[in-house]
């Protein structure tokens, strides 16, 4: 079995977001970069499949040289090989899906795993777009995955519930928190990863469908007020304010 895990480098969740001088991109100063957390579940799942049934795990990222950190980490965790598709990192989800589809084609992958969304861009689009471009099955926001002989069975989160998706391999599966508990890299893994090289390829040309034309911070929230008194009085005052001022009830 051959598994591709697509990983994205994103700003850490604790990062404060600042808009760059161009008015449409993120100011990278002071940003700490991490592997998108949902991609970590995807990678962990691939490694578990490898451990349980045997598989070749290829880690892939699209981006600049900076994204090599994500791939080094993936190698340390247990990916067999790593590929960087070099691009400027500016493309939309559709462009990235095209680049990955061009790489994947004819390489015989049985399974493609990635996060259900890249933290930050929050598009939740690359996985299903890749599935369509490759003409394969998809299951998104997956919390449980089982593989059969050329088939998969995936539990995915829906609006307040869950459903079982069954389909044929190859497939694109996008991971959700809960799929597994990702491991930490072992010292042995980190040392072994140092000996491995990251294959660098130019990303295939792609056409973006959309672009960010402006990035802005949300408006400041109006100042609020504190409600004083004993708990019973505070409770009464809050509900009254929500009813009369905010007109929520």
């Amino acid at each position: 079995m051959k598994i591709l895990v697509a990983l994205k480098q994103v700003p850490d969740t604790e990062s404060r977001i600042k808009v760059a001088a161009d008015g449409r991109s993120l100011d990278p100063a002071d940003v700490k970069w991490i592997t998108s957390p949902y991609d970590e579940y995807a990678l962990e799942e691939a490694i578990r499949i490898k451990e349980a049934k045997g598989a070749e795990v290829v880690a892939l990222s699209v981006g600049t040289d900076a994204a090599k950190d994500v791939l080094k980490n993936a190698l340390a965790l247990g990916a067999d090989t790593a590929v960087l598709l070099k691009g400027d990192g500016q493309g939309d989800a559709f462009a990235v899906a095209q680049m990955i589809a061009a790489y994947v084609k004819d390489k015989g992958f049985d399974l493609i795993l990635c996060g259900n969304k890249g933290l930050g861009g929050d598009n939740a689009a690359m996985g299903p777009m890749l599935a369509e471009l490759l003409g394969v099955a998809q299951a998104n926001v997956v919390v449980k995955l089982e593989l059969g002989d050329g088939t998969f069975s995936a539990e995915r989160e829906t609006d307040g519930g869950s459903e079982l998706v069954v389909g044929a391999l190859p497939a694109v599966i996008t991971a959700q928190k809960g799929l597994n508990e990702p491991r930490y890299a072992s010292l042995k893994g980190i040392m072994a990863a140092k000996k491995k090289t990251i294959e660098e390829l130019d990303a295939a040309p792609a056409v973006a469908g959309a672009q960010v034309s402006a990035l802005a911070l949300p408006p400041e929230r109006p100042a609020g007020r504190k409600l004083e008194g004993e708990p019973a009085a505070q409770a009464q005052a809050l509900l009254q304010a929500l009813k009369d001022e905010a007109k929520v009830f």
Binding site: L119, D122, S162, G209, G224, L227, L242
Partner: protein, 323 residues
């Protein structure tokens, strides 16, 4: 045409779909286009509801390969409808199905895609979307390069406004062929409660709840005011047995209710990212310096174990949940 992919639940138009339709009507009026509503599924009985929200044409595709949800079958029928009607804008609500089918359909149409939009407009005949990024820490204006433009609308943001439409109906054939995946079984239903992402009122608990069992207090209060219970990452990760589906924040659900009540939540950046789009925020916390108070429309510095039961009692006395 502006085409809106709509969903039914128990034979009725889902609220997020009504919101998407209403926004579609507004965009259609602004650009002199027709509004189409598209229903796909086992049965489309109830689709005529779309006329109430301004649909000029109601398209239905039901049964056969569409009897159970299949990403590829649905994407095909939606893309075919876009092409057949010459639609230039495709909208869907950002629900579990909407977020699954819309990007796949966009790729099929070589169209740009904006997910979870909170603002839409027509600029020079093309869609422009404003959407939260970094879970709402910033907003990106998205412009499209493609001939067809696809977007999903975030639930609870666009008002569902009734406006009578012509509502002429037209049935489409279910696609034939061998599709790659299908929903075999519904494992868990939302029950009577709405999902967090659609909820109008959310009562959320954090580390200050001290134990999962204490969430019962929040449930009682939420029941009294017609709300749904959520949790911070700290609470979900604390091993209290709370499911991830309850988590609000950058790595959980991003919500935009009318009212968000944060109980024992300090206000970590990643939590704030997930709920700062709420119209009104109430913070209940022992620590007067907790960052959550900076966002709060109303703040109560106090012990949630004393305040929340008082709130439940007062809500019942005021009859708040009953209207």
């Amino acid at each position: 045409m502006i085409l809106v992919f709509c969903e039914l639940k128990d034979g009725q138009l889902r609220k997020p779909s009504a919101e998407a339709l209403s926004e579609g009507r507004r965009l259609a009026d602004a650009s002199g286009k027709q509004l189409g509503a598209l229903f796909v599924g086992a049965s489309c009985a109830g689709a005529d509801d779309a006329a109430k929200y301004g649909a000029d044409v109601i398209l239905t595709a039901e049964g056969g390969t569409l009897a159970s949800y299949s990403s590829d079958a649905f994407a095909q029928v939606v893309a075919d409808a876009v092409k057949a009607k010459g639609a230039t804008v495709l909208l869907a609500a950002a629900t579990a199905v909407g977020k699954d089918v819309a990007p796949r359909t966009a790729a099929r149409l070589a169209a740009g895609y904006a997910s979870d939009a909170t603002g839409l407009s027509m600029v020079d005949g093309k869609l422009q979307a404003v959407r939260p990024v970094y879970a709402g820490k910033a907003f990106a204006t998205t412009s499209f390069a493609s001939a067809v433009q696809v977007a999903t609308t975030r639930p609870n943001v666009f008002p569902a406004a009734e406006k009578a439409g012509v509502g002429a109906t037209e049935a489409l054939a279910a696609p034939t062929g061998d599709f790659k995946s299908v929903v075999k079984e519904i494992l868990a239903k939302a029950g009577g409660k709405v999902d967090l992402s659609e909820a109008n009122v959310i009562v959320s608990g954090g580390r200050g709840m001290k134990d999962g069992a204490n969430f019962k207090l929040l449930e009682e209060f939420a029941d009294a005011i017609g709300g749904v219970v959520g949790a911070s990452r700290a609470a979900v990760d604390a091993g209290w047995g709370l499911p991830h589906s309850m988590q609000v924040g950058q790595t959980g659900k991003v919500v935009s209710p009318t009212l968000y009540i944060a109980c024992g939540i300090s206000g970590a950046i990643q939590h704030i990212a997930g709920m700062s789009g709420s119209k009104f925020i109430v913070a209940i916390n022992k620590d007067p310096e907790a960052p959550i108070f900076k966002l709060a429309s109303y703040g109560i510095v106090g012990d949630l174990f004393e305040v929340v039961p008082e709130l439940t009692k007062a809500a019942k006395a005021m009859g708040i949940g009953s209207n």
